[in-house]
Each structure stands twice: as C-alpha cells, then as structure tokens.
Amino acid sequence: MSVRTLEVDGKTITALEGETIFSAAWDSGIRIPRLCHLGGLSDYGGCRLCLVEVEGQKKLQPACLTKVAEDMVVRTNTAALQAHRKLIVELLFAERNHVCAVCVVNGACELQDLAARLGVDHIRLKPQYPKLTMDLTHERFALDHNRCILCTRCVRVCDEVEGAHTWDVAGRGRNSHIISDLGDPWGESASCTSCGKCVQVCPTGALFLKGKTVAEMRKNRGFLQYIVTAREKKLWIA
C-alpha cells in the first residue's frame, strides 16, 4: 500500500492510500470535530461537523468520507468552519431537550464537550422543546429521545458489529426518531441481543444503563477496536 503526503493546517503529514482525511489528521494529532463518525463503523456523513476546506475544491468536504490525495492541502479550522460548527451545535441544542444539569452523561458527553471546545456558551436560536418520550421497557438499558442527536451510531453498531439491526430511523426531518424493530418497545424487541453496544457508542445521554443517575454514566468503547481489528485480521473463524 502506497503512502500519500499531504498538508493539514500547515503541517505536512503522511497517510496510507485510501485513508480518509479524518483518520490521517487524527493519527497526526489533529482532532477534527465530529459526532456521527466513530472509528470501526461505516461513515454516515450526517453531522457535517468534520467538514473541511480542501484547496481546489469549491465545496466543503466531509473529512470522514474524503480520501487523502498526494499534495492535498486541507484546512480544518478556519474562521468560517468554526462559525459553521458553532451553529450546528447550537442547532442541536435547540432541536431537542438537552439539559446537561439533569443528564446521566453530564461531564462525559460528546455534545457537551464539543460545545465547550467551540465556545458555545449560549444558544441564539429558539429552543423547540419537543414533547418526547423515553423507552424504559428494556431490562437493563434505557432510551431517552430528548437527548438523541440522530447520529445513527447505535443503528450502525447494531447492524454492522453486532449483526442484529435492532435499531433504525423512522419518520422524516424533524420528526425522525430512532426505533427498535418496527417501532416495538425496546424491551419487547425480538432482534435485540441485549449486548449493550449501542449504549456504549452513543455520544450523548440518549442511550444509557439503567440505575445510573445524573453524571454517573460513562461510556466504554474499547470493545469496538478489539472486535473490528480482530474481524479485519480474521482472528476468529466466522
């Protein structure tokens, strides 16, 4: 596999052919913000936070989906990109009911971290305060639609890693929401294996372990690396 050299934020870095800008930048210590991308899962391109400027391209390119090329010049943190990212985070906070003070993942939430990192200290948009429900029918886990940002990590990990495809998205636009099976309560899902992978990959407090209270829920994604690496290297017989 050949190597590509490119410039990201003025820094010359190398990457493997076929690698994405996001992963090449990550390996060089450049952290491009993202919420839907998660190493080991397929890429979705929905959160638009990892959009970067690529010289010679008129449109902004999603770093998680754009492959590196020789002599590519990438800027990941211009003023315009920062403004876009701030507004995207504001849109997310205004969309549903993200109340950190009473959230199980307070202090360990990717959305919260991102807001802090981007300097989003207030929301200029009108909060929508939708009336949303929680699904507490599962024995060990819970789903709180109020905190969901529709990144679909749960959908992808369940389908691609666990192989159950319990989760999917129903509804359109602002009415989109995560469902288990065909809209059945999670606890009655015939396909769910209760593995808990969805809970661990969820960036916010939308999926959590029952019994955790405010600021107690911490997510552990170590498993993903082991499973995906083992699968790639065929370390077990399928």
Binding site: Y44, L91, L92, R124, L125
Partner: protein
Amino acid sequence: MTAEVLHHTRHAEQDRQSRLKNRILCCSVAGCLSAGAEGVREAIQNETDHPETEVCRTGCMGLCSRGPLVRSSANDVVYTDVTPRDARAIAHGEPIEGRMLRPDHPFYAGQRRLILANSGYADPERIGDYIALGGYQSLLCALAEMKPEEIVGEVKKSRLRGRGGAGYPAGLKWELVARHPSSTKYVICNADEGDPGAFMNRSVLEGDPHRVLEGMAIAGRAVGAQQGYIYARGESPLAIERIRTAIAQARREGLLGSRILDSSFQFEIDLRIGAGAYVCGEETALIASIEGKRGQPVPRPPYPPESGLWGQPTLINNVETFANISTIIEQGGEWFASIGAPASPGTKVFALAGRIVRTGLVEVPIGTSLRTILFDLGGGVPEGYQFKAAQTGGPAGGCIPAQYLDLPMDYDSLTRIGTMMGSGGLIVMDTSSCMVDVARFFMEFCRDESCGKCIPCRAGTVQMHEILARMTRGEGVEGDFKMLEELSGLLKEASLCGLGLAAPNPVLSTLRHFREEYEEHIREHRCPAGHCHMGAAQ
C-alpha cells in the same frame, strides 16, 4: 417486432387515420379529467354516428385553465371549456363561438412543441398512434445504424442539458456510464416530480409515455445497460397507469425485452413507485428507495455514473431529458443544438400557475424571455391585478421581480439572478402576495420534506421557518436578518444533498429583490402586501 413490421404498422395506422373524416381527440390528462373530460368524451362518442369519425383520448394540449379541451382534426381547432352539451356541435364539426383556439392563437403560436409534439395528436394508451407519428423509428435507427458511441456522440453534439433542474450536460453523463467497464449497468428515469405547482413530467408521462420509454431504451443501448427503472410518484396514479400500459404494449410488440427490433439488444423497463418523499427526487435518495432502503441521500462522490443502483454504474436522467432523445436521434444533435439558447439548446416545458390568465403547460425554446412566456403565451395577469414576481425552480428556486421580465429563461441567466431553472414550475404572483410569506411557505415545505439525515437541513429549516413565521406575525426583530443569513450560509455550504443546499434560495432571492418588504415587517410591523395578519404585534 422487426423493422419491417414497425414500418408496416406505421403506414397501416397512418392510412387508417387518413381515411377518417374526423378525429376528435379529448384531453385525458389530470387537469382536464378533473374538469370532467371523461364525461365530455363519452358524450361526444354518443353523438358520433359517422363510422369515419373517431373519438379518442389524447395528451395535454396546454391550456389547462380552459379545460376540458377537445381537438377536432377536421377543422384543426381546439375547443375550450367543453361540456357534454357541446358534444353535438363538436361531433358534427360545427364552430362554437368564442371557445375555439386555432394554431395561430398566441398561446400556440409562440410555442415550439418537441416534447409535447404528440400531445393533442396521439392517444397515449395506443402504441399504434405513437408509431404512426414516427415513434420507435429513432430506436430502430439507434439499433440498426448507429454504434453506441455514435449515439452518445449525437447526444453530446446536441448539448442537451439535464432537465431535472441542475442542467448537467446529458452527453457527458452518458459518456461516463458508457465508458465504465462494468457489464451490469442501469438506466433510471427520475419521474419523482414534487415541486409545488409543477406538472410537466406528469403530463409528459400521462400524454406520451412511449416517448420516454423510447428515450430510455436508446439510452440503454448507448451506455450498455439492459435494465431500466422509472421511479414515479405514487401521487400520480394516472401517470403510473399509463406507464404500465405503455410498458406492457412495448413488451408485447417486442420493443422491450430481448432481441429488440431484430437486433441483439436486450432491454427491460420496470416501474418503481415512490411513497411521496420530495427528497427521493435527489438521485442518491431515489436509488436508495429503489433498493428498498430508507429514502435518504448518501454523500457523493461516488456519483451514480460510477457507483449507483446496487453499486453499479447508473445513468439517471429526468423524464423530460429522456423525452428529448428520440428527437435528437431522429433530427441529429446539430439540429437540436440550433434550437434555443446556444449554451442551453432545445425547448423547455413550463407549468404556468398562479395569478395568470392562461394557466397550463407551454413548451418554448430555451432562452425565450419571461415576458413572452407570461404575457404573450400566458395572457398576463388578470385585469385588476398587477404583476409582482414569478417563482421558478420550486422550493430550490427563487423569485424573479418585474425588472427582470426581459431576462432570457435559460439555466445560466436564472442562476445569475439568484434563482434556477428547476424542473420548470412557474408560479406567477401579483401585488397581493407577500414575499416574506412566500419565503415562509417554501421553507415550511423544505422543513417538512427534509429527510432528517444531516443536521443543517433537519434543524436549520426548522429555525429558518421559525424566524420567517415570526416575521409574518409581526414579531420579527432586528437580529433576524443576521440569523437568517447565517443559517442560509450554513445550509448552502454544509448540507449533505441538494435539498438542504437549495432550501435557503427562496429566502435569499426574496431578500435580494424585496428586502424592503422584510424591513417593513420587522420595523413597522406592517405587511405592505396586506397579506400577513399582524394581530399579535398590535
């Protein structure tokens, strides 16, 4: 069917029709049908006792606001506002004062009908009618006399641009698919027309479905595909029925299937019906929908010509694009390129709607001025009203104010003033229309039709609609302009697909041409058009 049989069918049908004394063609597409065209047709049929007079259905004759329309071939007039009581007069070829349109009527004289050439002359449910008017001759020519690369060459020479809205050169797209080494390729006809007030594609499919099938088959031959799909809207049941009938007829006659017209070419067309999501008109969402997945777009690249339906190279074009193909093959690419504007040749069908005397369907050379279309063909705005703006391009387009009435209607001129050609919807507004409310209406449409995949579009349209709705209630504040512009910028630059990218267009174009109206809403809490109710603010 072999070439000889096609030839024979054509001449036999032409002979049969020429022996008729009169052929009475009743419009039978959605507009006239809802005005009672079927009852009219039956009444005329009952009045017709002469064996040499035939009464049949036909495609859209354009002047939908005066429907039902009936054409009489004997005196070459189109009767308007026909009721069953007129049946006797029409059946006997008698004039009806004040309700007859001749070909020299301004509505027809300014048109150039290539795509709609058969509408008004052929029965959409009879393949023989299409063949009699030269149908499937282009397919025969493409199969018997042309190499696939010559077909692509002709389309390139025609400089035909995709009629779905963006105007991408069709020939380049065809070439990309044709050059791809894969042995499995697909041709898709995008008939998911969803712009409010637009009914061009639907009328073409209802009025002349074989033209689209022929265009697709030629495309299949050119790019090396053996399977085509038509993705139609579930909301147009008649179009679906006519496509089904046409596909069945073409199969029966051996114009689809294997060994078409005695050649080695094999091509099938199947119909897929959408469930009513506007976003499924976006090519990657449409492909996902055909594959049975949730109809939401996926990031491009890869573009469909490289990896489309089931990961195979796929040619996807609009109904109107395919409807142009048989003419291009028949008359040659150079001939086609000489019509219309040099950078965007050919004709374009526009659907005239809103505050205009003659609403309906017109086909004009691209580059015709808006004034000609609206005032010469469309008859202008009704008396007592004053023209304010014309909306083109649907929810992705913008408003054209009166000062641009002489603008040529072509892809590039429209983009330059902040709107777009789109698929051809043309909504006329008079001074009683409030531009802020127009922007709010289209934003509501985009909000409801956003698939929800990417955040800028899913949540941004909600917020933009919120601000616009607040303005129309008289509750706008100074900061709203800045926020609208900021959100528009985000949507335009960060959205995943065309729906989100274009959603701010109606806002930006009205802000550009009618900024003072917005200012009046915010500062004076007053709607200059007198449209918005500002009760809350007072």
